[in-house]
Amino acid sequence: MLLFVEQVLNGLQLGVMLFLMASGLTLVFGIMGLINLAHGSLYMIGAYVAATVTLHTDSFLLGLAAALPAAALTGAIIERVVMARLYAREHLDQVLATFGLILFFNDLMVILWGRQPLFMNVPDALAGTVEVLPGAPYPVFRLVIIAVGLLVALGLWYLITRTRLGMRIRAGASDRETAGALGIDIALLYTGVFALGAMLAGLAGAMAGPILAVEAGMGESILILTFVVVVIGGIGSVRGALIGALLVGVVDTLGRAFLPDLLALVLDRATADGAGTSLSTMSVYILMAAVLVWRPKGLFPGHG
């Protein structure tokens, strides 16, 4: 039972991380109709900047404070220089161009920082574990990640449904021409939304730095799961991204944790281990297929 609680927490934490990535991706995808494979590069930039600044200043907060604007600024530059030329093009062109950006940024990181992974540790104040239930210690830093993710979700909901800027974003999404005719600067709005998504990816990267290896190409492993989240949640829906991310996080973690043991009830141990490992690798994709059969446009189609 304690193990189950711990694994659910692990799943939530992975889900929250995915949400930080997916919220930006789904906004850009839904509002601008743009497939951005380079979203993982912004995550990587967040992690690199946070690791470097933290190493030199000994302050995780300063690292975070540097990583967010760095990712947002990079996002804004990418949008102006590359993406602005791609809105009218086909998705295939967008995929090609943003795939090129992945290669560009991975090599840029190697040139600037070298091939050796960077060191980044959990800040002292957040190191250690707490007992979430008696006998179930859990790392404080992972709990903080969950809290930060939920706060961001709340903040995004407020921004989009309760503020003037959010209204413009929604207007730009549902009818770009009319919104433009009513005096909304669409180009500026798009740059802003892209930078916001980039900043959230940078936040995810900076938060991941103490847990993961900070190295070139680190964005790709999370990117695929992020796309799964966006598809499950419904393209363009921040609410869908949240629900989808938590679902994917929990299914992936519980699958890895318990599938081999569950299968061992009906199969012999060696077969169960092999089949369990393979099945758990597939679990999120099976989830995605099931959701798409039930709701072909995802859980929350449209914008919400």
Binding site: Q116, V122, A213, E215, T277
Partner: protein, 402 residues
């Protein structure tokens, strides 16, 4: 008009870019003649995340050439290096080009066994001596052994086997074992179990390239082991060690692994969480013998970096080739004679005693190392003892060579 001018200008620029490497390639492809230096072809992995492995092999090899004044064993050599991108197809293309275009008769360099298995069996059949500085798959050590194939590093299972022996010797009764779900991961756990005198309390295969190990760490806590053996090369191992330490398990559970998870570049990316990690290797920078002291000092002077096992393996590949070149006077017209000279080659390896076994794989000692914090705040491996003396790999008996 302006558009078409721009397009054609762009085309011209593209054509120029494409033609530069072709021209360079052309310049390098002049005919092979006997009085020229002996060409050695190095197919290795320089790009991708694992690129530093190949770079270290190359640097170790280059150091030996430099110490010989551009020669190995007194015979002038020219090293051709190309990046295989960890791609078997690309590795094979490069090998073909080395053989056909450059007349290469000696090859080395491959890091990963998937590339190795695409290249090594083929080139030795084509009449090339191959000296592996890293990849040592069982296929080349057992029935598939070949008189032209040599390995100066280890058979792939060796370092894992040593940790199994260590776990047995240290009386670790409850060990949890963990590796990615791919052939090398399965071989690692099989190698560990071959010498571990007990039943692991848990055995988990993770996804290749996995970054979050929270689920596995929770399972480890639940199994309550006294040691965890893991084989998670590169970034996977960094992720795992960091998260393991953060879970608080590091204080009561000993982490053990092979040198592949614990070169000092990886250790320092993990930081204090890696302190105290035990790992096995055929060599260590602090190994106490005069040849090694000289090697480490020369390497640090040349590259301003501490050598890894990959540097040492590259260096030894060059020394072994050098010894055979010296014995044959650089004559590659009779490759059987060259292979025979290589098999009995005597050279002073920084690892200490070394010789080739029946299957041309190393017979050597495997040491236990520990990650120790240095005065300057960095981690370095230090030798704790010898696990195996003159170890012969598990497949040598299946090899029909003498």
């Amino acid at each position: 008009m302006s558009r078409s001018v721009r397009t054609s200008a762009r085309r011209a620029a593209l054509a120029a870019m494409l033609s530069v490497p072709l021209a360079l390639g052309g310049a390098a492809s002049h005919a092979f003649a006997a009085d020229e230096p002996v060409r050695i072809g190095m197919v290795t992995t320089l790009s991708t995340k694992a690129g530093y492995l190949g770079a270290d092999v190359r640097d170790g090899f280059m150091l030996a050439i430099k110490q010989g004044g551009g020669a190995l064993g007194g015979v002038p050599v020219e090293l051709l290096v190309e990046d295989d991108d960890r791609d078997p197809g690309k590795g094979r293309e490069i090998a073909d080009r080395f053989i056909e275009r450059d007349g290469v008769r000696i090859m080395t360099g491959i890091i990963f066994s998937n590339v190795g298995l695409a290249v090594m069996p083929k080139v030795v059949k084509d009449g090339v001596i191959y000296v592996s500085p890293n990849s040592g798959p069982s296929q080349m050590a057992g029935k598939g052994c070949h008189p032209y194939h040599f390995n100066v590093a280890w058979q792939n299972d060796n370092l894992h086997e040593a940790m199994g022996q260590y776990a047995t010797d240290a009386g670790l009764e409850k060990v949890f074992i963990l590796a990615p779900n791919y052939p090398a991961g399965k071989d690692a756990l099989a190698g560990f179990k071959r010498f571990y005198d007990g039943e692991p309390v848990g055995e988990t295969y993770t996804q290749l390239g996995q970054s979050d190990y929270a689920a596995e760490i929770a399972a480890i806590r639940d199994a309550d082991p006294d040691g965890v053996f893991f084989f998670l090369p590169g970034g996977m191992g960094i992720n795992f060690m960091k998260q393991f330490h953060q879970s608080g398990l590091g204080e009561s559970v000993q982490l053990i692994g092979s040198a592949f998870s614990a070169d000092h570049k990886l250790l320092n990316a993990v930081g204090e969480a890696a302190e105290g990690m035990l790992n096995s290797a055929q060599w260590s920078p602090d190994l106490d013998n005069p040849v090694n002291h000289a090697f480490v000092e020369a390497y640090m002077a040349e590259y301003d970096a501490v050598p890894t096992i990959y540097s040492q393996q590259g260096y030894d590949a060059a020394l072994a080739i050098g010894a055979a070149l010296e014995a044959t006077g650089g004559d590659l017209s009779d490759l059987d004679a060259f292979a025979a000279a290589l098999k009995t080659a005597e050279f002073e390896s920084p690892r200490g005693p070394f010789k080739f076994g029946v299957n041309n794989f190393p017979v050597q000692n495997i040491y236990l190392r520990k990650a120790v914090m240095q005065a300057d705040g960095t981690l370095r491996n230090e030798v704790q003892g010898t696990i195996f003396t003159d170890q012969v790999d598990a497949y040598a008996a299946e090899c029909s060579m003498e």
